[in-house]
Symmetry: C2
Subunit: 199 residues, 2 copies
DNA sequence: CTAATATGGCTAACGCTGTTAGCCATAACC
DNA sequence: GGTTATGGCTAACAGCGTTAGCCATATTAG
């Protein structure tokens, strides 16, 4: 992982990458479809996100959508891209508004709060095959950079992100035994990684 | 989380729970179906696991399967149960065969190795809605116990498991940037949690 | 031993999914 | 003004999980 460095507050910190641009701008109809898709997905879950349902929401017939998209996964790709931009924005912001929290705690809190409030979008964006080739260049690196910033180490960054994703996805899927004190679990993980950057 | 304690090697360690029994034994045809389902799923992925395909493998017609299962998810439930037993066995064994590794390192290594070598079964067992109500009583607690044993604390146990699951599922879905040094990432996470139990 | 019942196959079909082919009206362009 | 691209439409296909209903065999009850 190649990363530029700059001096910030006397410490060597990874520079913040530039927010990438979308590959190609969307036509009106495409943008509208993605909007509708997002609303349906977030409101009613992946099961409701069907081609016919999207068409119905736009008052056209299902096959007409194929004049704008080559397949359903292309719509989902747009949603994944939006989700990654959103998460990137939220996590970058958490770096600048840590308050009295440690950078790691701030990042984790922001990540958890945002992702849990967009469960279906998060699941879509983080489960199954990752369409790396069809995403804007630099998006993945930009979205992942905050994890590197707060740890200062690529391996620790990935480990921290893995912990955060595991927590979120398991919480979303109701995977922890009933009555689990997840606040405490987040705290335990936070401390574990905080201890790693102090040394 | 209520856990019995016993004295082991001078330390207070959580007792190992008893391996639960299956709720009801399977008829021949049911057992055969689950076997076939597992083979198809592991060999060709979730997309190949269709009712018609299962029937074809057994030389019967698709609707005939409904004489043995009320729905497809019941077959998947059996696979989830098997997967949890397998993972539980592997992780419990890792506790007794740590070698020169720390208990945490041993557990994580065993978990990673096993889960990565059964990708489709792991995805099925750990993604989406968790059918807690339809699993054998005690299975969840038994399978989760090793995480508690190596940490000595429920919150730390859940945090460690979340890290491990995040790592495995993200690795399975090819979610880490190409060229990532995942060995190093596992090591970083391992150290982070090991440091938490020393203190 | 016979009659009733349960077991486990079968075919046909339904409603849903994503998707394709092909037709046609309007809009834009040389 | 003729040509082409845009973006609708209907009809239809294959595959999905699933249901209804029929029927032969196996098991059990009287």
């Amino acid at each position: 992982m190649m990363v530029d460095l700059l001096t910030l507050e006397g410490e060597l910190l990874p520079s913040e990458l530039e927010r990438p641009k979308r590959v190609q701008s969307r036509s009106n109809r495409v943008a509208q479809t993605v909007m509708v898709a997002r609303r349906v997905l977030e409101g009613e879950g992946a099961g409701a996100l069907t081609v016919r349902r999207l068409a119905e929401e736009m008052n056209i017939q299902a096959p007409s959508l194929y004049k704008h998209f080559s397949c359903k996964t292309e719509v989902e790709l747009a949603l994944i891209e939006e989700s990654m931009f959103d998460i990137g924005d939220v996590t970058h912001q958490a770096l600048h508004e840590s308050g009295d929290l440690s950078p790691i705690a701030s990042l984790l809190t922001a990540y958890r709060t945002h992702c849990l409030s967009h469960p279906n979008l998060y699941r879509l964006a983080t489960s199954g095959h990752f369409p790396r080739e069809n995403l804007p260049e630099g998006l993945e690196a930009w979205a992942g950079n905050p994890w590197f910033v707060v740890t200062g180490d690529p391996s620790l960054a990935q480990a921290l992100w893995s912990f955060a994703h595991g927590m979120v996805i398991l919480e979303l899927d109701d995977r922890y035994p009933p009555g689990s004190d997840l606040e405490s679990t987040w705290r335990a993980g936070t401390v574990a990684f905080e201890q790693m950057v102090r040394n």
